[in-house]
Symmetry: C2
Subunit: 219 residues, 2 copies
């Protein structure tokens, strides 16, 4: 038996799938409270009660969106890991940044929703437990920031968070940053990749040679 979300993911042209897709975009742009069910219904081109028929109340639709993008992200990261497996660190990072950046620029609502999850509060109680922690730990392991098994230290997870946040920020902030830099879309994407590589890679290359440890920049 498929859940409603699984049905919607399986058939994107179904009404459930169409609603989910639009809801991702609108929730991503305006956040939970900034989005009204009427906005979503209008964008899909259906009556508001049709929306309620398929997804129940607003909060449930929002949770479906969260689960949906988390699943997409999980799959993409798994795909990236397949590709970079076995390569040297700098190359792994360069490829990861390219792949993730390209992907997220195609689905910017993923970055939007992720950031809303991180930073924003909502005036309704959600009983949703997100698997972000596991995801972060997996990436840390795949980057050889720690042993293959066992607990991933907080410092390693922080580094992964830094990388993820940096990428999401530039995707999600495109509408703010790009006009400010006066760049076309392609130029912007190119510059994002270049900047991320320029800043992120040296740190991890340095961290490899002889493992200077965590205290090197502590006061």
């Amino acid at each position: 038996m498929l859940t409603v979300l699984e049905k919607a993911r399986k058939d994107p042209d179904s009404m459930k799938g169409r609603i989910l897709k639009v809801a991702r975009r609108i929730f991503g742009e305006y956040g939970f409270h900034g989005t009204t069910t009427r906005m979503i219904a209008q964008e899909v081109g259906i009556d508001i009660s049709t929306l309620y028929y398929h997804w129940g109340e607003k909060g449930e639709l929002y949770e479906a969106v969260i689960l949906d993008i988390n699943e997409d992200l999980r799959r993409k990261l798994s795909e990236v890991e397949q590709v970079i497996h076995g390569r040297p660190l700098a190359e792994r990072m360069s490829i990861s940044i390219d792949m993730m950046t390209d992907y997220l620029f195609e689905c910017p609502e993923i970055s939007n929703i992720v950031l809303f999850q991180y930073f924003g509060k909502t005036r309704y109680r959600s009983s949703l437990d997100i698997q972000v922690p596991e995801l972060i730990s997996d990436i840390a392991r795949s980057m050889n920031l720690c042993g293959r098994r066992g607990k991933v230290p907080a410092a390693a997870r922080m580094k992964v968070l830094t990388i993820m946040n940096a990428i999401h920020s530039f995707i999600s902030g495109e509408n703010f940053f790009r006009p400010m830099l006066n760049l076309g879309r392609k130029e912007y994407i190119q510059l994002v990749k270049m900047t991320l590589k320029h800043i992120l890679i040296p740190a991890f290359e340095r961290g490899q040679e002889g493992s200077p440890g965590e205290g090197e920049y502590a006061l």
Copy 2:
């Protein structure tokens, strides 16, 4: 003649000042649409119409909050620049990261509002032009990423944005990241600083020696 905002900033104990302070926090937590004027009024302990008496409509109060935190940020950055002036790059960055991180952890609503500005859309038209671009260019100059005068190249501004975003992300995401890492507040702050320095400084040190140029990590 002082504007309403200037009055409120000048006297934080006045009703206008108290409202502004609470509004910063609530808007920062819940965003524009997630915040109701009633929430703010209740938190201040006043009637809703008293709030309207002092600040007019919701959008105007929100704009005041934006201007207020931008001014705070501008002053703090100016203070940081005084301190780091003349020191070597790695030290400049280390001090900047310490000072800004400490400051923003004391006023996390600043990071919250900034990120909402960057990433979120609002369903109302704002005629507010923010001086973020100038701020970013100033920092780039102060970091010697470009000449003292003239136009700051986009690549340099991107690097500054990366740094600012990284800091804001960890401040604003504390409520999400800290439980995930299972750290106390002080440990978390310490780890944020360490991670930021560890990741950010090597890139800029490397960028200095012989100026390898922008294309080093391009495909």
